[in-house]
């Protein structure tokens, strides 16, 4: 066996990548006429501005906590709602249990939703309902269809045909097949995905908040427009902790679910 060829080629990719990157940076700096001195100038201006963000304004903590709770509440209500809607779309989009026409419609809705950012959905809803918590929650819920519906439909289509057939051969109806074959097989992964979606919805909830729905995102946006940068820092600290904690919790629960798979 001769490994020398492999040993060289192993370093080739990162090497080529680094060299290309350096060349690209050089070329783009040249093209946009960024000179090193200007770059440093901008940097010092930025760092002076940065100083105004410190120290964080701890007196605002009560208000920020309250706003964070609102953000969490939005995600908490929207996620189960979204999961429920996604479940129906997922069922309708699965080839092996749905009806041909219905399946096409459900697939189109799912793909469309996946292409739309939550902000866009919110703006549509705001046009009809105005800005506020309710359209915010609705936007988050609808925003889950693309991801959860698609994952569920794929999971259902991967179920062994025989597991469905075996329930079919005792004379079960389609809805009975769903209840006793489809749901038990896909529920653990669906629950895990929904919890993951909750984590994403927390972040989206912050984002929609900034647009005007309310919550911690709104506080951040407000403080920046009022140039109360120390309060902004407080909001940012809250957001980071929020996202971090949500991630930890979701990780822990998901590990539990996938380990036992015993959700029913």
């Amino acid at each position: 066996m001769n490994l020398s060829g492999y040993k060289i080629s192993r370093y080739k990719t990162p090497f080529i990548f680094t060299v290309t990157l350096i060349i690209l940076i050089y070329l783009s700096a040249d093209a946009t006429e960024v000179s090193l001195s200007e770059f440093l100038d901008g940097w010092s201006h930025g760092s002076r501005l940065l100083l105004e963000f410190f120290p964080p304004d701890w007196s605002k903590i009560g208000r920020m906590l309250h706003a964070s709770l609102l953000t969490i509440a939005m995600a908490l209500i929207a996620t189960p709602m979204g999961a429920l809607i996604s479940f129906l779309f997922g069922l309708a989009a699965a080839k092996n249990i749905s009806y041909p026409g219905l399946r096409e419609v459900a697939r189109v809705v799912i793909s469309l939703e996946r292409a739309l950012p939550e902000i866009v959905i919110l703006l549509f809803l705001a046009a009809a309902l105005g800005l506020g918590l309710y359209p915010g929650i609705l936007a988050l819920a609808i925003g889950s269809i693309g991801m959860l519906g698609r994952l569920l439909a794929d999971a259902i289509e991967e179920i062994d045909e025989k597991a469905i057939e075996s329930v079919e051969t005792v004379g079960a109806t389609r809805s009975q097949i769903i209840r006793y074959s489809i749901i038990p097989e896909v529920l653990p992964s669906f629950v895990a995905n929904s919890i993951f979606r909750f984590e994403i919805n927390i972040r989206n909830s912050v984002l929609l908040g900034a647009v005007g729905v309310g919550g911690i995102g709104y506080e951040l946006n407000e403080s920046i427009s009022l140039m109360d940068y120390e309060a902004s820092t407080m909001a940012i600290i809250m957001i980071i902790s929020l996202v971090f904690v949500a991630e930890r919790i979701s990780d822990t629960i998901r590990k539990k679910v996938s380990k036992t798979g015993e959700v029913m």
């Binding site: 005792v170 004379g171 809805s175 029913m264």
Partner: protein, 270 residues
């Protein structure tokens, strides 16, 4: 009586999979079906459950599948009528025929899904009395200690016994089993047949097997399928010549395989 009459299955490409299968099964019979791999045994059983529509021919259940004992041709049923007929068919298919994430007991209860309303399925499922009965069915196959185990964690033989308990609990008029013992060791295979044989005293049992010695020991009659036709129908004790005829192609292909292997070995030695 069940009467399979001249079943054919032809693919759009013109390939003939089943070429006029005919046989009859009466009450009290345990019919064994033998045949080489690809002969058309599973296809025949799937036609008998209405999972596949044959190109031609019919399968008449004289009164087994009808609530009012009328004759039924399962090949022409669809939708609700087909579901009603299937309530009376106890199907035991090889492997993967259970819902892996449900417990043994829940899988047994699935046997009666066709007999309860969909609405009830969603509201509360099965009653305590039905659960007791399902537990009794598990007892019959000596699996009661596993009633709360998820089926996915059971061994192949244990799963096979749960599948039989499901069919027993369903209380069908006919049992159809496709290779119920193929993944089992000889001792467990025999155990399963000892469970199936007594069922045949009251309801016809039709089973596909790959073990002629088990068939001759337990079945009351045997048919052999070859290239989509029945080539033997009669006594379960088959002679060497008859077996050779049934499995001829398979044996010769195994021989060819063995020859190839020995050639490879020889060339390696060089």
């Amino acid at each position: 009586m069940i009467s399979v009459e001249n079943i054919t299955k032809v693919l759009p490409s013109g390939k003939v999979l089943l070429d006029g299968i005919s046989f009859k099964v009466k009450k009290g019979e345990f019919l064994g079906i033998l045949g080489a791999s690809g002969a058309g045994k599973s296809l025949t059983l799937r036609c008998m459950v209405g999972l596949i529509k044959p190109t031609d021919g019919q399968i008449i259940y004289s009164k087994e599948l009808d609530d009012d004992d009328n004759p039924i041709n399962i090949c022409e049923l669809k939708g609700k009528k087909l579901r009603n007929a299937r309530k009376h068919l106890g199907v035991i298919f090889q492997g993967n025929n259970l819902v892996k994430r449900l417990t043994a007991l829940e899988n047994v209860m699935i046997g009666r899904l066709g007999q309860i309303s969909p609405l009830r399925t969603w509201i509360y499922g099965f009653t305590d009395a039905e659960a007791e009965e399902a537990y009794e069915a598990l007892k019959q196959v000596k699996m009661e200690d596993y009633s709360n185990r998820r089926v996915g964690s059971l061994s192949g033989g244990e799963q096979q016994r749960v599948a039989i308990a499901r069919a027993i609990f369903q209380n069908p008029s006919v049992y159809l089993a496709d290779e119920p013992v193929s993944s089992l060791d000889p001792k467990n295979a025999k155990k399963i047949l000892k469970l199936l044989a007594p069922l045949a005293e009251n309801k016809p049992v039709i089973g596909v097997f790959h073990q002629p010695h088990l068939v001759s020991e337990f079945c009351t009659r045997v048919i052999a399928v070859k290239d989509g036709s029945v080539v033997y129908d009669g006594d379960p004790k088959l002679s060497e010549e008859q077996l050779e005829m049934i499995y001829a192609d398979e044996l010769s292909s195994i021989q060819k395989e063995a020859e190839k292997m020995s050639l490879i070995k020889k060339s390696k030695k060089k």
